[in-house]
Amino acid sequence: MMIPYKILELKKLLMAEASLVEKMVAMSIDGLYKANGNLMKEVGVFETRVNSLELEIESKCTAAIALHQPEARDLRLILMIYKINNDLERLGDQAVNIAESVVHLKGHPAVSELPELAAMKNASLAMLGNSLDAFAREDAELAGKVCHMDNTVDDFNREIYRHLVELLKADPGQAADYLHLLRIAKNLERIGDLSTNIAENTVYFAEGRVIKHHAED
Amino acid sequence: MKPRQTLNLAATLLLGSLLLVTALFLLLFLIRMFSLGGSVLSWEFLTTGPRNAMTQGGILPALVGTLLLTALAMLVALPLGVLTAVWLTNYGRPAWLVRLLRIAINTLAGTPSIIFGLFGMALFVNFLGWEVSLLSGGMTLAILALPVIVNNTEEAIRTVPPEFRDASLALGATTRQTITRVILPTALPNILTGAIISVGRVAGETAPIMFTATTFFAKGLPSGLRDDVMALPYHIYALMTEGTHPAAQVPIAYGTALVLLLMVLVISSVAIFVRYSIRRKRQW
């Protein structure tokens, strides 16, 4: 009746929010490799929009449940939209954090000593992009693959940590930069986790299976 | 067999046999009538008048008289009765008037028919000066039929589901429109059934017409409302009580009775048929 229309509307809003978040993350991380004087400002604009979408989606999900008592697939979808909405907002926060660290690193080319970071960045961005694609296409298989990639990103994180420890011991004067780089790595790892969440939620919505807190599936 | 089923069977048999007894009475009644009066029945009997001091001939004037009296009575009683019932069920205010009317109607319904005859005589024949005539008799019979028609019509109107009335009023119809467009058409078959049954009753009444309409012998058929008439029930009475040649006249009386009886049977059958076909069409 009314509910398919409401669900479609919610999904559209969520995808709009997702695309904004994806851009935010890419934009902020690119700031490491390509100078961008307006980075904070641009990221700030995106963040405002994402926050307002988050509130709108939350309120519409509540209304949809209160007014329409959705069942089965509709219920899973609305609940997962609610959760993914939450994750997207946090992803946005991660992007802002990265941007702040990038600004501090401006003009200091320390990042060139850390080639693994580029690889980690690519992996995290891939996870994010795939998880959002999987949700849009209701593709549980693709979502499953995203969950597997989480280990890769975690490995990168550990490697970067070890490398940074060596770099710090070798050149304590650059400690501030190295710590910012560590933070960025942490943010990227968090982005990987949040993408995994999104993927798990997608599997639950599409197939009704709960795969979180399990090692492999 | 269990005691419950035995009891059931016994009850069924008892009721069945009572039904048979009733039917048997009717059958015997008809057989007796036929045996006493069947001999005089013929086409001539129905189409010619009495001859030879009522020892020969037929009952045409009486037949016509009964038909005219009945028609006049229904012509007056039906509209009056239906309108009264409509007023009682839809407008009925003030309450004391309604109560008064109901008492009047119920009293009339229980009044012995001879009193109607006396009343008719006092009012129509004497006071209004209409003399013994079709008019006086018809009006008297109308008053006789009135309470039955009012009660029957009221009943018919009450069986119209109140939802119809609500729907009609909610669509912006006045009470009058609701009555004429919805309630009466819906109740009409039942009103007609009651009217038809009244006809049967009115046709057979003797006492009300004895002092107001009938005469022992009329030359020809009535030519106007002020003429007196012969009538079937009165004809029977007259032949049996004032007949001068019983040997010839008693069979004629029984023959007349048969005609009257058959007339009532036909009317009742029509009423039953009308009610049956309504029930089949009705879907609520």
């Binding site: 009746m1 009314m2 | 609500d166 009023l169 909610a170 669509l171 912006g172 819906t186």
Partner: protein, 253 residues
Amino acid sequence: MVNPQIQAFGLNLWFGKNQVLNDIDLSVHTNKVTAMIGPSGCGKSTLLRCFNRMNDLIPETRITGKVTLGDRDIYAPGTDVTGIRSQVGMVFQKPNPFPKSIFNNVAYGLQVQDAVKNRSELADRVEASLQAAWLWDEVKNRLHSSAMSLSGGQQQRLCMARALATSPLVLLLDEPTSALDPQSTAKIEELCLELKNSVTILIVTHNVAQAGRISEYTAFMYLGELVEFGTTEKMFTVPADKRTEAYLTGVFG
């Protein structure tokens, strides 16, 4: 943006000595669906029937206060009640088509008001009403057959067509689907969502989920009082009154 089509101001109603409605202030917004919910006996049907003066039919009814349609007080002395009723249509709980043909049922409201002079215009308006009620396709080939031959859901849609024929401003629905099966119910609910664009709808329902599905505004009544009125979305997520919350969460009613 408040745009009320029909309003009650300080409305009180007594049946004999019994006060059934207590100081009701209600604004029904134009071209929206407003639901009235509440436990049995709260007075919602009675209030509904005030809007087309159907309570006048119940003896010993006394009303104080004002009820306006547009800017007219419908209880003002000398008001043409039949005129009000052709502008405020009503559909009842149990489908009640007349024992007439489908055509004559729909035409009835127009005929009693003598609103349409020629037959072809009448036929057009009957068709338009049946189309609006989503019944035309099912009955277009048997307009002159008896309305009683339709199923329950069809009969109720016929009653809606009948009420719509006079082009009313407001349509009052008194638990219109409580006697119907789920499919017919769904159809009528969707019909309401469509109809609200041309007529203001006020629906009494004992089914809270139904109110959630189709109404933009909801009025909650309890013991003859209007406890709360607002957008359905707000009332169903954050009701302002504890009694409303108790009713919605099934504590009583």
